[in-house]
């Protein structure tokens, strides 16, 4: 019993449990879910590989989103930044039918990531310097971003015929696993390195938990907030490369569509509180894989990509309720059958102030 309690109390429990449920569901209902085969040219493929492949960009996105949410902020522009990044990359490589690249692919890739960083810097300035609410600041880029992407691609969907570009989304010849998995692992390692070798992780948590006390401790709160948005843009830039490579095109309207919700879900599922504070990178990674599995499972059940958001919306609300202290109080009261409803007029605003002002 004790060990069971310990396991369920662990923050990784929820995403792992959800993932396990989904995997079991798939194993039962989907033929050959666990089958992994080798192709003639030495690549592994199978449904599991496919899920890992597709969750890579979401994992990367969630890494950036985790830091932003940890500072009590949010970045809903990431989907549009993916569109911008893929537009930059594909435009620079060019869609010439003879399979050549206008600019060297490496340059195009760097430019795309740089575009992502610039978007992040833009968001960071608005939130950290001008103190604009994160949701509105990132809403601007969320809506205008796709327009910018359209401008870059001149309203076209640019299909890239340059062969090496596809290697990002699938695999480099000779490798058994898709490149995306390696990119995701590299990003996870990068973030782990950053957290272990610098104090940014500590500062981010500190700012999210109590920004006033953080200021009193000498932490440059403005800089920390700026940095997390810039990093989120960086992650979105990298994700953009993967997303466009997967379809070998830049589609300004559909690239990264709804991925902001997926990222937020992944982070919340992974144990990071949406109100900010301590974060859980491992949880976000598992959360991302879980959300991707959910998506794939839903598709397998016949739910279309436009309909899927309904389920995700419900999931987010449930997660938020679980994180809401008022809800937990209500729930506990209901469990002990005291029938105390949600607080009415009187204690509405007094709660938090009550005990401190004795």
């Amino acid at each position: 019993m004790e060990t069971l309690k310990k396991i369920t109390a662990s923050p990784l429990f929820l995403p792992l449990f959800a993932l396990a449920v989904l995997l079991i569901f798939n194993i039962i209902f989907v033929d050959g879910f666990l089958t992994i085969e080798m192709t003639d040219d030495g690549r592994l493929y199978g449904r599991l590989i496919d899920i890992l492949n597709r969750s890579s960009s979401l994992i990367i996105l969630s890494l950036g989103m985790t830091f932003v949410i940890a500072t009590s902020g949010i970045d809903i522009s990431v989907g549009s930044v993916i569109a911008i990044s893929s537009a930059v990359c594909c435009t620079l490589i060019g869609g010439s039918g003879d399979g050549t690249a206008e600019y060297p692919m490496i340059l195009a890739m760097l430019a795309a990531v740089l575009a992502g960083v610039l978007c992040g810097v833009w968001n960071g300035l608005l939130v950290a310097k001008f103190k604009i609410q994160p949701v509105v600041a990132t809403l601007i880029l969320m809506t205008a971003g796709r327009g910018i992407a359209q401008l870059i691609t001149e309203g076209q969907i640019i299909t890239v015929y340059y062969k090496p570009f596809a290697y990002i989304g699938s695999s480099i010849p000779g490798n058994i696993l898709p490149t995306t998995i390696f990119i995701a692992i590299a990003m996870i390692l990068l973030v782990t390195f950053i957290i272990k070798k610098t104090s940014i992780g500590l500062f981010v948590q500190s700012v999210g938990i109590n920004s006033t006390a953080s200021r009193f401790t000498g932490i440059n709160v403005t800089f920390v907030i700026f940095l997390v948005y810039a990093f989120s843009g960086f992650c979105a830039g990298v994700s953009g490369l993967i997303e466009s490579s997967l379809i070998r095109a830049a589609d300004a309207n559909n690239a990264g569509l709804n991925m902001e919700m997926d990222a937020i879900l992944a982070v919340a599922l992974g144990g990071t509180l949406l109100s900010g504070g301590k974060f859980n990178i491992g949880g976000s990674v598992i959360g991302a894989i879980t959300i991707q599995t959910l998506t794939t499972t839903m598709y397998a059940l016949g739910v279309s990509s436009e309909q899927l958001p309904v389920i995700k919306a419900v999931a987010v609300i449930i997660l938020c309720l679980m994180q809401s202290s008022k809800f937990r109080i209500m729930f506990n009261n209901w469990k002990s059958r005291n029938k105390v409803g949600p607080q009415g007029e009187k204690n509405f605003l007094m709660d938090e102030k009550a005990v401190n002002k004795a």
Binding site: T143, A144, I264, Q307, V310
Partner: protein
């Protein structure tokens, strides 16, 4: 003389209507540029078209303004518009439900969605952006659940409402949608200025703690603004369906930002407590003028509107932030300055 001018300027900037003045002037300037650039701009119908084409946005903006006034936000409005259109189309085309009933059903749905969101936000202290973001995804997804294909509305009665033209002194015509929009503006302005409920909204947005201590019904009011926003989104959806005569999953995409932008450009402070309905009208009109410009121009893509609107929103928000910072610096000295006078 110089200090008097400075004082006047300070007064003007710190006035709550400063943003409104800027918006009106901006609108007039844009319109003037339009007239000078394109002959066609001179026709009165161009002006009336602003109301016809943007009727839905006007109504949705009114609703979102109510939530912004309390310091909240409603990101679901565009999705509710889409859902409304789809439900209307589906009901009118696939069932025998009469038009008034279908419209009523949609409006009730808007109230319900707003109520649920408002309750989650108020009772559980959940952040408005995440609840309404989820609402946005939910409603848009639900739209696709009803139908992934476009459903055209061919119901005769409905089409006749949509194509009804009301003559304005022989200079041109407007649509029923535009009339609904104007009526909504009027009612909203009255409610916000002349009812206790409206004034409580302002108090709540200005200082929620004070409002509570002054004995105002903070809990109820906060839920109500989301109900109103949901209702307006649904009503906007009805009007939108008169323009588009179809249900489609991509209707109203990005409308939430257009609405927020219009409201902010019209003088609503994102932090709450300040807003002016006539201002929000001009905010929408500016967007309309920009779009008209682009249409006249012919070569620029419609995406430019989104970018320009985004840029305008940015400028106005930064302007608001700077003015607020300046104001707080001024007021901390005010008690000493008052003594010197």
């Amino acid at each position: 003389m110089n200090s008097k001018l400075r004082k006047l300027l300070n007064e003007a900037i710190s006035s709550q209507y400063f943003s409104f003045f800027v918006t009106v002037i901006l609108f007039l300037v844009l319109y003037a540029v339009g007239i000078m650039t394109y002959k066609g701009f001179m026709r009165p119908q161009v002006f009336f078209n602003l109301f016809i084409d943007n009727a839905a946005l006007i109504i949705v903006t009114i609703g979102i303004t109510f939530t912004l006034l309390t310091g909240g936000i409603d990101l679901s409005v565009g999705a509710v518009v889409a859902l409304s259109c789809m439900i209307l189309a589906s009901l009118l085309q696939n069932t025998g439900v009469p038009v008034p009933v279908a419209v009523l059903a949609v409006l009730l749905l808007g109230i319900f969605i707003g109520g649920v969101q408002g309750y989650l936000i108020t009772a559980f202290n959940m952040q408005p952006f995440i609840v309404t973001l989820a609402g946005m995804f939910f409603c848009r997804g639900l739209t696709a659940v009803i139908s992934r294909e476009t459903i055209s509305i061919t119901n005769d009665f409905y089409v006749s409402i949509a194509s009804e033209r009301i003559d304005i002194f022989g200079l041109g015509f407007i649509s029923i949608g535009a009339v609904v929009a104007l009526l909504s503006l009027f009612i909203a302005a009255i409610v916000l200025k002349y009812t206790k409920f409206g004034r409580t909204i302002f108090a709540l947005g200005g200082n929620a703690a004070s409002a509570s201590l002054m004995g105002l019904p903070v809990f109820k009011t906060r839920i109500m603004v989301y109900v109103i926003s949901g209702f307006c989104a649904a009503l906007g959806g009805v009007v939108y369906s008169w323009i588009m005569l179809s249900g489609y999953t991509l209707h109203g995409l990005g409308m939430e930002m257009d609405a927020i932008a219009s409201s902010v450009i019209g003088g609503t402070l994102l932090t709450g407590g300040v807003g002016f309905i006539p201002g929000t009208l001009f905010g929408v009109l500016i967007q309309g003028v920009i779009l008209t410009f682009i249409t006249f121009q012919g070569t620029l893509s419609a995406w430019w509107t989104k970018i320009v609107v985004g840029a305008l929103l940015c400028i106005f928000i930064i302007m608001q932030a700077l003015i607020t910072e300046r104001k707080s610096k001024l007021s901390s000295k005010s008690s000493i300055e008052a003594a010197k006078q």
